[in-house]
């Protein structure tokens, strides 16, 4: 395997409390190779989003990353970056699609203005150059360039989500973090978007950190999967192994809680 694009070592994150601290992430270590689609699964509160935020240092107090933790992006420790370096690092190396990302567009700005914002700030592009680049980026996600003049409310949810992804790809990041990117969309649109991401990462070569609690979906799109339980990474393996021969008891129980579309229905015992 070539040098990993993201390497997390002994990551410990606490939420500081008045009386006691809550350890949300417990000694987590994993790598993501360039171009790899890595899935992180677990239920709400297991710490998966906390990790996502920490990777681009977007975590806020009371979250505190403990000393001894390492987050290396392309060999550089993100936790060591000063303010200016961090500004250059975010979006250029690691871009993030948030959960409800379709609501993260500014409702009073046109799509073009939101592209310009990123392209001007990070690359100093002029309006004209930014418009051209934005049109190219929209084409990547199958949106006609005439939508640049539209406002977010004039686009459907799936379209807005694809626009956010296009903005994320504006600076050719090495890693795209997607935190439950399609939870608010219905299955047909969800499939279209993930197919699109899969094609783009193969063409452009970025890696993906994909976070969801939908294990079935995750197995379909990911190369490797990590399963989290109460802040710990309990199992990491390639997607098919996680599906066909899960090792950890919790992974097995997660599978047992997913109803099936065809064949024998699961019959979990009461209280499972």
């Amino acid at each position: 395997m070539s040098a990993p694009v993201l390497s997390i070592r002994n990551l410990n994150i606490d939420y500081i409390g008045a009386e006691a601290n809550f350890r949300a992430v417990k000694d987590v270590s994993f790598d993501i190779a360039p171009g790899e689609f890595f899935g992180l699964a677990g239920e709400s509160g297991c710490g998966k989003s906390t990790i996502a935020f920490a990777v681009s240092r977007l975590h806020r107090p009371p979250a505190l990353i403990r000393t001894g933790s390492e987050i290396l992006v392309d060999g550089r420790d993100v936790l060591e970056l000063d303010k200016d370096a961090l500004r250059r690092f975010r979006w250029r190396e690691v871009a993030m699609v948030f959960q409800s990302a379709m609501n993260s567009l500014n409702p009073v700005l046109t799509i073009e203005a939101q592209f310009y914002d990123v392209l001007h700030t990070h690359k100093g592009m002029s309006r004209e150059a930014a418009r051209e680049r934005a049109a190219e980026l929209l084409k990547l996600v199958d949106i006609p360039p005439d939508r640049l003049a539209a406002y977010p409310h004039q686009c459907s949810g799936g379209m807005r989500q694809r626009i956010v992804i296009a903005i994320c790809l504006a600076l050719n990041p090495k890693l795209l973090i997607m935190d439950e990117p399609t939870t608010a969309l219905d299955v047909v649109v969800q499939r279209e978007i993930l197919q699109r991401i899969d094609v783009l990462r193969k063409r452009l070569g970025f890696a993906v950190l994909f976070i969801t609690h939908d294990l079935g979906l995750m197995v379909q799109v990911s190369d490797r999967i990590g399963i989290m339980l109460e802040g710990e990474l309990v199992e990491v393996n390639d997607a098919q192994t996680i599906y066909r021969s899960p090792q950890h008891d919790y992974t097995k129980r997660l599978w047992a809680s997913m109803p099936k579309l065809h064949g024998d229905q699961i019959r979990p015992e009461a209280g499972a």
Binding site: E43, S44, D142, G157, L185, D186, V187, V188, V189, Q190, R191, E192, L194, Q195, R196, D198, V199, H213, D214, L215, G216, L217, V219, Q220, V221, Y243, R253, L254, S257, M258, P259, K260, L261, H262, Q265, I266, P268, A270, A272
Partner: protein, 306 residues
């Protein structure tokens, strides 16, 4: 009441929004019946009209065409008393357990209020006992839960409260609109199992509305697929899921996450084909075709049955 008479039925119901010269059919000629002891799943993507169907049943919307039948009687011009009886018989469990409970009131209030309104004969101590029995039915401990406020409970616990509240008035029909979509996968099954148990114990007729077809299969015997206000395919669950006949149903099923199939890149022309299916499925289709013992579709033009 005969075996085949549904407790509640929509008979050719349409609900129209928009202007007269540009009507938008949120529901178009929708017909189905809910039977005691059975669960009917209504599936479709957002905007397909699932929630409009629920609102028509709950009488939040009134049909622009067609009739709502309760025990065979049309409900259009029923008396206020009959409407109140209807409300006690038909209850709803909402999608979002975080906003469907009043944050300013305790769980006791939520459970005793429907009893106070619909079972006036109960005295204070009887009402308290009834509320406790309701919590026990949904497998929550009254001693721990009764005095709590909604924000002190988890999403799954809150959804159990919603179910208990719906059961308070001894309903015959429960409409559950995406009751598990905001819950973690690990607690979803508990809620679905609870709905199933209640259905069996009380011989309830259940309408389960969802976009998650796998959970629909878990709880329901029958299924309807809705798109653009029309029910495009319906029938026995496994017949529809294993042998879908309508192109839209096939499209929907192909998009359901399935770990046995890896995502492939869209084939050339695939997106156009999806658009064609969507466009044609949205046109009014008055014909109904039987394709199996208990399996029907509204065919679209040029459809090849396979």
């Amino acid at each position: 009441m005969s075996e085949n008479q549904p407790i509640l039925a929509l008979d050719n119901v349409s609900k129209i929004f928009g202007r007269a010269n540009q009507p938008i059919y949120a529901a178009r000629s929708v017909s189905f019946g809910l039977h005691a002891g059975r669960t009917l799943a209504l599936v479709g993507e957002s905007g397909s009209g699932k929630t409009t169907a629920a609102r028509l049943i709950m009488r939040e919307y009134h049909p622009d065409e067609g009739r709502l039948l309760f025990r065979g009687e049309p409900l259009g011009k029923a008396s206020a008393k009959a409407i109140k009886a209807y409300r006690a018989s038909v209850q709803m469990v909402f999608q979002d357990p975080f906003s469907s409970l009043n944050p300013a009131h305790t769980i006791r209030y939520h459970l005793e209020r429907p009893l106070r309104l619909h079972q006036r004969q109960l005295g204070g101590s009887e009402r308290r006992a009834a509320a406790e029995a309701l919590l026990e039915r949904v497998k929550l401990d009254p001693k721990l839960i009764m005095g709590k406020f909604p924000h002190e409970l988890s999403g799954g616990q809150r959804q159990r409260i919603s179910i208990a509240r719906a059961l308070a008035v001894n309903p015959q029909v429960i409409v559950a609109d995406e009751p598990t979509s905001m819950l973690d996968v690990s607690v979803r099954l508990g809620i679905l199992n609870l709905l199933n148990d209640m259905k069996k114990q009380d011989n309830l007729a259940l309408l389960y509305i969802t976009h998650d077809i796998a959970t629909a299969r878990f709880v329901a015997e029958d299924i309807m697929v809705m798109y653009a206000g029309q029910i495009v395919e319906w029938g026995a669950m496994d017949s529809v899921l294993d042998h879908p006949q309508h192109p839209y149903t096939r499209l929907l099923l192909a998009a359901v996450p399935d770990p046995d199939r890896r995502f492939d890149a869209a084939q050339p022309g695939e997106l156009e084909q999806i658009e064609t299916i969507r466009r044609q499925s949205a046109l009014p289709q008055p014909d109904i075709q039987q394709v199996g013992e208990n399996h029907f579709i509204r065919p679209i033009p040029d459809m090849v049955l396979g």
